[in-house]
Symmetry: C2
Subunit: 352 residues, 2 copies
Amino acid sequence: MSLSDLIVKPHAWYGSGAGCPIALSSRVRLARNRSDCSFPRRAGEEECERIWNEAEPILRELASLKPAETAGYAELTEQERLMLFERHLISREHAAQARGSGVAIRTDEAVVIMVNEEDHFRLQAFGGGLCLRESWARVDSVERELERAVSFAFTPRWGYLTACPSNVGTGMRASVMLHLAGLVLMEEMGPVINGIQKIGLAVRGVWGEGTEASGNMFQISNQMTLGEREEEILALLEQVALELVDHERNARKRLLESRKTVLQDHVGRAYGILSHAHILSSKEALDLLSALRLGIDAGILPDVERKQVDELLLLSQPAHLQWREGRILSPAARDVARARLIRNELFSKRSG
Amino acid sequence: MSLSDLIVKPHAWYGSGAGCPIALSSRVRLARNRSDCSFPRRAGEEECERIWNEAEPILRELASLKPAETAGYAELTEQERLMLFERHLISREHAAQARGSGVAIRTDEAVVIMVNEEDHFRLQAFGGGLCLRESWARVDSVERELERAVSFAFTPRWGYLTACPSNVGTGMRASVMLHLAGLVLMEEMGPVINGIQKIGLAVRGVWGEGTEASGNMFQISNQMTLGEREEEILALLEQVALELVDHERNARKRLLESRKTVLQDHVGRAYGILSHAHILSSKEALDLLSALRLGIDAGILPDVERKQVDELLLLSQPAHLQWREGRILSPAARDVARARLIRNELFSKRSG
């Protein structure tokens, strides 16, 4: 599989779509399993390998996935799998797997299928901004096509069967990634998170379940997969996401009106540190780039382009960074390389 | 008294002298009291006022103080007294006094006499870098001159009598201010401080007794005033200060050799924040300007001049800042004004 086309730039769909730049991306995924094999965790390595070997030629031929790249994880280095994880295309757990697992990626990164993650198939559709319905339509058509070649585990009573009971039913999880830096700076995220959780949606950090909201990025997703129609779930999630985008716009407006100096200080410090630091951890880079992004959106940082910041958000991650440097780096060396990358990018822009 | 000539620039003697730029300044002071009056804290306000009124014309005529400015504290605003404190010319306690206290300042700020601080007279000589002997000679000649006009409290057994027993004897305290940013960054100040204390010298922060070492500025002074000759005290202090300057130079050399990236990061972040922040506390400004100074001395910050940083160290202090702004500011407004001052200074330099 050739990753080199992917990693030099953000996803093809990135940076556009409804609710941009506050809404970063949308994802809809379906969990599906073969009716004639054990779930991956129960199947042995050999059976998993057989499942992957049977799946790969089928996925390759799916019209809705073309043009696609496919790769068994035994063929990919750990670094390459981690890059796919950093691009949010596969889960951290999937990236940690090797023989018997694999992935199919439409080259625009708008459709990705994980094979033998927790379930045999995790069909995913991605898009920029708030685009749940389009993503749903896309993943739905992939699923219909795949269903012609594979017999899915399904019962009329439970719907689609999945390895984890939390996915049984529709097998669908939809999520929206939002950049809520204004609400965080106004210290208003606490009640917002409580409100979202009360209506049965989950709020997570940028890396999904169990992660902190680094860089003021929040992932909102449905919890329920059983007993509700996909369209209802998507409609609720979309409505909440739109409200959050509104809340965030409002918070930014109030920041500019009544706490402009605080905002300028927050953004200015981030710019100053990013353009002059020589050691930067992933976490600090993410937080500071988030502040920069807020400054650009608020119109108080005219020198920097959002596209540039979004690229750095992606390229400054460990695996991307090492790909770019052409070698494996110690964590300390990565922090130095990350600072250099960001410094050069921000400086070259300023003088350009 | 006209302060306007003083506050627009650092002290006339600042920025030169032996051991510069690590040794910032030297001070030698003598505590003296009149034999015919109670110590200031025992004397009432009226007696203090009489003492000041009698002292002022005498001080004005001292040849070793000419040209001098004198001012009773009833004539000065609190802001003006605080400016003298921020210039290290008077103590914080003296700045808090009003009627009955006063000061005489040679216009080059190399000789300053506080009247009715803890003692009737606190004679002080200042100089740039490491210049204890010259300062001692200067304050000694002021003292001899003053002695012709005033009868000092003195006994052959105890020497000069002072309000606090810790000053009895010579009444002399000598101190050197050192910028030990390299030793701090190498985390080696702990044992250095222990070593200094063991030989009977005191290590204090930039504001003297009981203060923290903000901005990596340390004041080394003698503890003993009784039973030792002035020359011996000064020789010991000078020797220790010279050793500290050497230690610091060595620490900076090692930083450059083995931890250059850490140093660049430390200095770069300080530069980035100072040139882009919109809110800066006194403490943070002091710490960051200290890092900048280290960067300049280490040759890794070619864009900024030490003189400029030293000016900002002085001018960014609360009373100086308010004098410059022409009005009293709330602490929050000072933090904004301070950030603006520093930002403008560092930026105007860069583009100039």
